[in-house]
């Protein structure tokens, strides 16, 4: 009996097979890259927080300034998450004698239980980090907000978020886009925390003027962010 052999006409499919493999490979690679890109993985990251704090309520409706809580944003690298004591300025519970302050808000809300517990025990509330840069990237909030880069440029319209969600990819190329062309992102210093603000003129023109005024020269040296 003859050994089974592929008929000769099959041969013309061989290059085709090569082509097909290349296509599948390219498809696989691009899917992998797309899937693992920070744009896919990180944008939209909205972890559940121990207290369902709503920026939409506090910033959007109550019009609280960002710096009421994130006090160190103009002074330090970190825009520190506020201590529980800041929450307790309004959200106190009963004191030792069982009475509740007149101005206390939602003093019996179950959702605020962790706040009251933290105040009572002194233990921190374990908030979940939303915007997480790699440890070898040294971002400094004060360097940006004191130059007129608004919160909204990186964090989006937090005043419309019930749950804080990452809206920008926070990749190095995304950082560099702005460092190379900062003009559209620079605004007057008193508007930095005004998330609704819209430039009265072309933002790039205004930004260029402010950049001149404030002597802003963003650096693209590696050591600017990596130490």
């Amino acid at each position: 009996m003859h050994r089974f052999q592929f008929p000769r006409w099959i041969n013309k499919f061989v290059p085709l097979l090569g082509g097909a493999l290349a296509v599948v490979g390219a498809y696989g690679a691009s899917m992998f890259l797309l899937a693992s890109h920070p744009q896919t993985l990180n944008v939209g990251h909205a972890p559940k927080q121990p207290v369902p704090f709503s920026h939409k309520v506090h910033v959007g409706q109550l019009k609280m300034d960002c710096r009421y809580c994130h006090t160190t944003v103009e002074k330090a690298a970190h825009a520190a998450i506020p201590p529980t004591a800041t929450c307790a300025n309004c959200h106190t519970g009963q004191d030792a004698s069982g009475s509740v302050a007149y101005a206390a808000v939602h003093s019996e809300s179950l959702k605020l239980e962790p706040v009251r517990e933290s105040i009572a025990t002194g233990d921190p509330i374990p908030w979940k980090r939303v915007h997480d840069l790699a440890d070898f990237a040294y971002f400094d909030h004060s360097a940006h907000v004191t130059r007129g880069v608004s919160c909204v440029s990186c964090h989006g319209r937090v005043d419309r978020m019930d749950v804080v969600t990452q809206v920008e990819p926070l990749t190095m190329s995304w950082c560099l886009d702005c460092h190379r062309n900062p003009d559209p992102h620079i605004r007057p210093l008193d508007k930095v925390t005004d998330l609704e603000w819209v430039a009265p003129e072309d933002p790039a023109v205004l930004g260029a003027r402010l950049r001149e005024e404030h002597n802003i020269h963003p650096s693209t040296n590696c050591s600017t962010c990596h130490r």
């Binding site: 374990p126 004060s142 050591s223 990596h226």
Partner: protein
């Protein structure tokens, strides 16, 4: 050029002179051994233990996303606390037997860096022990519990249990109780000791410090009839003579201040230089700094001093007799053919006589008492008392009557004591050979030990009590100048340890007061004021009481001094075969820092040996004795012998054998050795060789070669800069370290730049221009004495790992700043010079040109940036770096998974500076000019809309340098000190002829030789053209040199 003087012979080590294959390997290969081999066998195990003990790194769980992190803000944040912003606190540490005022940097509540407190005279810069204190704080091996041992059983207890047991013991008025204390220098400790002594009036007190200065104290007492402490005023000293005194090192109580004051007068452009004569047996950093150094055995220094005094006396009394104008007549000038020693002492006498009241003679604390008294008499005769040296009354914290260790041992043997309380130290390990403390200790029924580690003594005790670290506790101390310093805790005791003050108070029955209360009470008492809240805050803020230093006391020499006659010729006579052994302090001090990896891996300033103590021998003596480098020798002192590796040390006195104390710890920890864990001790314990009546010097000595090979891990020949080979190296090194004399400097201020001639430099590359900042550094070699403080400061600041002995032997040490040490001149009595080398941040950096992945790139401020994430580890950059300053992570030196459970790893990694990336295996790294400090200063200044101050950015090495030899700043800012230094005529760029345009410039080292000895000096440090072209060359030296050297080169070829 090819006719360069043979006399400019620099050499790095004897191996180099002999051209051994091992040196050749280091010379020709940047990476002597390939990266492929991982440590094997026991060494691998040892290596991992070491790594884990010094650094641990939690490997983040890697998923698809970055791992989820938690942010835990404080429930109530203290006022002015900004998360992530380092805070600085003034405090004080008891470091290496000294009281060191410090400023500690705290990051989110954990101390990560310790520097000197610059407000205090003793705190400009710091030493290696101070810098390494933070590693000790987070050492996973530190003791964690109260431990009770019953027989062979070991139980963890709590403090209450101990104090309950203590109540039983102390019920008897302390009849059979003995206390053993070390040096504490703390009024609060003294106060509590007194309180405890009141409770236990029958108890006996003993004191033991293996490295004390008792003879220095008693010599002052004998000379002036009072307990006083010298304070040196080097600014007024034109001539300094050091007699076997490690004046700038750890042996001197005021070493940092001495070094700073000395170095202030070593810049010839800033005013007249001082002149330093050194007579010493060892080669110390003082000898390195010396203008003239005479190696002389310690046992013969007494003779030298007697001779010196006699000569001074005859010269000075001759003056009185009418021979007034000694001026330039030089009546005592030695003949040209006089021997070196004669010339040396004649010059010393000449200089001292000519500078009455402006000279200083200092004797080492281990010289015999009579000699030290004689030295005081010389100072008195030279009118130096009150001028260059003041005697101050430093508040004593000693009890009036204390016995010593030998007496305690005797008491124990006779059954006098049932309870011994050892408060610190490690007497079982460091008792002298003739005091059998360990055996006697076992005879006491209750043996209570209080210490930071569970060590040799803890293991023989029934109770071990954990001590809190100096950064965790309240405390106080009396600094060398008599000032009152306070310590405040930067962190709560991590393992519930207690400070000595708290423990004593509680043992005395005072349980209600906190450490703070106790110190505050003492502070009020000591300073004689009411400690109001404001005063207390101010005291803590400053870290010491301003104006509390001891006032100088007017003294006169006791007139009834009976000093026996000393043979004045002995120091010049043939010494025969007599040998002496000198015991000196090394990297672990008395052994207490044996478990500190930073200190163990720090190359010794002179021998460059790491991870070992060695027997240093003069090469000629070694020849006679048949001792060879890298072999073991059997050293016998009065019947006790040890095996030690031999290290041939040029410049050591011929009859001196040097050994270092503090090694060979059998139960120190994962780093220093722990026999229970099969970790061999580092080095050899030489304490048993000591005799209690002569702790520092032994003369009954025998030493025999054994021929056994022993590999030492030295950093000496690593990173030798050479391209052409040994025949060239003399001239080459002469080009790297440039030295001259004052007269040379005066004739040609810019002689250093002209040492190397090269054709005009043209770059193949487009050169950068720097309009903004241009960061640069300058290092003044006239001031550097090679103390290594910069290396450890850099290690602490930049998360530089340790690699272990095997890796150092392969040339893989990771220090970002190394201190090169070169010898020059006469083989028997060499000079030495040190040169700290960091990344030079070349403007045309050769490393950048060869990196295939752009992992090292240039910033527009002139920094040579290193991007760890891009690095793929080709090591081309390291290969192409002419300065050999790049370091490669061959292995994951921080891996911690294998040997530590989670808790230990978390503890060990607290030492990391969060401002600096922790590097991984396979990545190149190097000095960044402390870019994190530059960036933070820049951000801060810009946020405040102000320019950066001219000297505002300070690097870690600069901050640590006690000699203020390092300056850093913006070269484009003309007001900065670094810009001025770059303009200094002494400045030169190392390897400028390569046109790499380094940003670090060195200031040439200037020596100030005595004219009678100057001929020798010039001889050994002469200009390359000194002999053949001296005539025609000098006049048009300053211009056209490029052109000229080209023609010379042609003519010579």
């Amino acid at each position: 050029m090819s006719s360069a003087s043979e006399n400019t012979n620099y050499w790095r080590s004897l191996e180099q002179l002999e051209n051994t294959p091992r040196f050749e390997q280091f010379l020709h290969r940047e990476f002597p051994e390939a990266a492929s081999e991982a440590p094997t066998g026991l060494s691998r195990r040892r290596w991992m233990q070491l790594m884990g003990a010094s650094f641990g790194l939690a490997a983040g769980a890697s998923g698809c996303r970055v791992p989820e992190e938690t942010i835990a803000p404080m429930a109530v944040r203290p006022e002015n606390r900004v998360p992530g912003k380092p805070e600085k606190f003034a405090s004080m540490l008891h470091v290496a037997g000294k009281v060191q005022p410090i400023v500690a940097t705290s990051y989110d509540g954990r101390p990560i860096k310790v520097d000197g407190n610059a407000l205090h005279a003793q705190g400009s810069g710091s030493d290696v022990f101070t810098q390494a204190a933070v590693l000790e704080l987070y050492d996973p091996d530190r003791s964690r519990n109260v431990v009770q041992r019953e027989g062979k059983e070991r139980f963890s207890r709590d403090w209450n249990r101990f104090f309950a047991a203590w109540e039983d013991i102390s019920a008897t008025e302390g009849e059979k109780v003995a206390f053993l204390v070390g040096t504490y220098d703390s009024p609060s400790v003294k106060a509590q000791i007194d309180r405890l002594a009141e409770r236990l009036p029958q108890a006996k007190w003993f004191r033991h410090d293996p490295i004390g200065r008792p003879r220095a104290e008693s010599a002052v007492n004998q000379a002036f009839g009072s307990h006083l402490t010298p304070r040196y005023r080097l600014d007024g000293a034109d001539v300094i003579l050091l007699l076997d005194a490690d004046f700038f090192g750890h042996e001197s109580a005021s070493g940092l201040q001495n070094l700073r004051d000395y170095s202030q007068r070593r810049a010839p452009e800033a005013g007249p230089m001082n002149r330093l004569f050194v007579v010493e047996s060892h080669f110390t950093t003082s000898g390195l700094a010396a203008d003239h150094r005479l190696p002389l055995e310690t046992s013969r220094v007494a003779s030298f001093v007697a001779d010196l005094e006699a000569r001074l006396e005859s010269r000075l009394s001759g003056e009185v007799a009418g021979d007034a104008d000694l001026g330039d007549a030089l009546p005592l000038k030695p003949a040209e053919d006089a021997d070196k020693r004669e010339k040396f002492i004649a010059s010393v006498v000449d200089d001292l006589v000519k500078h009455p009241g402006r000279s200083l003679v200092v004797g080492g604390p281990h010289l015999d008492e009579a000699t030290q008294v004689r030295i005081w008499r010389i100072n008195s005769r030279l009118e130096n008392l009150g001028a260059t040296v003041e005697l101050i009354r430093r508040p004593s914290t000693e009890r009036d009557t204390v016995g010593d260790l030998a007496e305690l041992t005797q008491g124990l043997n006779s059954g006098q004591f049932e309870t011994v309380v050892v408060l610190g130290g490690n007497p079982v390990y460091d008792a002298p050979g003739d005091v059998k403390f360990a055996e006697a200790y076992a005879k006491a029924a209750q043996r209570i030990f209080f210490g930071y580690y569970e060590n040799e003594t803890s293991r023989q005790s029934t109770w071990h009590l954990p001590e809190a670290h100096g950064l965790e506790s309240w405390g106080d101390g009396i600094a060398a100048d008599g000032s009152y310093c306070t310590a405040q805790p930067l962190i709560d005791p991590i393992f519930g340890g207690k400070s000595l003050v708290e423990l004593l108070a509680q043992m005395a029955g005072e349980a209600s007061l906190t450490g703070q209360d106790l110190v505050r009470q003492t502070a009020a008492q000591h300073l004689g004021t009411e400690m109001t809240e404001a005063r207390w805050s101010k005291l803590l803020h400053d870290g010491f009481a301003v104006e509390s230093q001891g006032e100088p006391v007017a003294v006169t020499l006791a007139d009834d001094l009976q000093l026996s006659d000393v043979d004045q010729a002995a120091w010049r006579a043939d010494r025969g075969d007599a040998l002496e052994v000198n015991f000196r302090i090394g990297a672990t001090y008395d052994g207490r820092y044996a478990n500190n990896g930073w200190l163990q891996e720090l190359p010794d300033p002179m021998t460059k040996v790491t991870w070992d103590n060695v027997l240093t021998v003069n090469p000629n003596t070694a020849d006679k004795l048949g001792l060879k480098q890298d072999t073991l020798a059997k050293l016998t002192v009065a019947g006790q012998s040890v095996l030690m590796p031999v290290y041939l040390m040029p410049g050591l006195a011929a009859g001196t054998l040097g050994v270092t104390l503090g090694y060979g710890r059998s139960f120190a920890g994962m780093i220093g050795g722990n026999l229970d864990e099969q970790i061999d001790p580092v080095g050899v314990n030489v304490y048993p060789l000591r005799k209690s009546d002569a702790l520092d010097l032994a003369t009954d000595v025998k030493v025999e070669p054994t021929g056994t090979k022993y590999e030492l891990a030295t950093t000496q020949d690593h990173h030798a800069i050479d391209t052409l080979g040994l025949e060239e190296i003399g001239r080459r090194v002469g080009a790297l370290v440039r030295e001259g004399t004052v007269s040379e400097f005066e004739a040609h201020p810019d002689f250093a730049e002209h040492r190397v001639h090269h054709p005009p430099l043209e770059s193949l590359w487009t050169e950068f221009s720097y309009d903004g900042h241009a960061w640069g550094m300058s290092i003044d070699m006239s001031k550097c004495v090679g103390c290594n403080a910069c290396t450890i400061a850099c290690q602490a600041e930049n998360n530089v790992p340790i690699v272990g002995k095997e890796q150092v032997a392969k040339g893989r040490e990771m220090h970002w700043i190394r201190v090169d040490r070169y010898f020059s001149g006469d083989f028997d009595e060499p000079h030495a010079v040190t040169q700290p080398v960091t990344c030079q941040h070349c403007e045309n950096a050769p490393c950048e040109q060869v990196c295939p992945v752009a992992a090292t790139v240039h910033s527009d401020e002139g920094l040579n940036d290193m991007v760890y994430n891009r690095c793929i580890g080709t090591r081309y950059c390291g290969n192409n770096c002419p300065y050999k300053v790049r370091r490669f992570n061959y292995l994951d030196y921080r891996a911690g998974d294998h040997q530590f459970e989670e808790a230990n790893r978390e503890l060990a990694q607290l030492v990391f500076n969060p401002e600096v990336t922790v590097r991984n295996r396979g990545v190149m790294e190097k000095c960044t000019y402390c870019v994190q400090r530059i960036q933070n200063t820049k951000i801060e200044a810009r946020a405040e809309r102000r320019p950066i101050g001219p000297n505002e950015v300070r690097t870690a090495c600069q901050e640590a340098c006690p000699a203020q030899a390092i300056e850093f700043g913006d070269l484009n800012n003309e007001e900065s000190r670094v810009a001025a230094n770059h303009e200094n005529p002494r400045s030169y760029a190392m390897l400028a002829e390569l046109n790499v345009k380094p940003r670090t410039k060195y200031l040439a080292r200037i020596r100030n030789p005595h004219p009678w000895l100057a001929a020798e000096e010039d001889h050994s440090h002469g200009h390359g053209h000194h002999h053949d072209e001296a005539g025609g060359h000098d006049k048009d030296h300053d211009h056209n040199h490029d052109e000229k050297s080209r023609t010379e080169a042609e003519a010579n070829s």
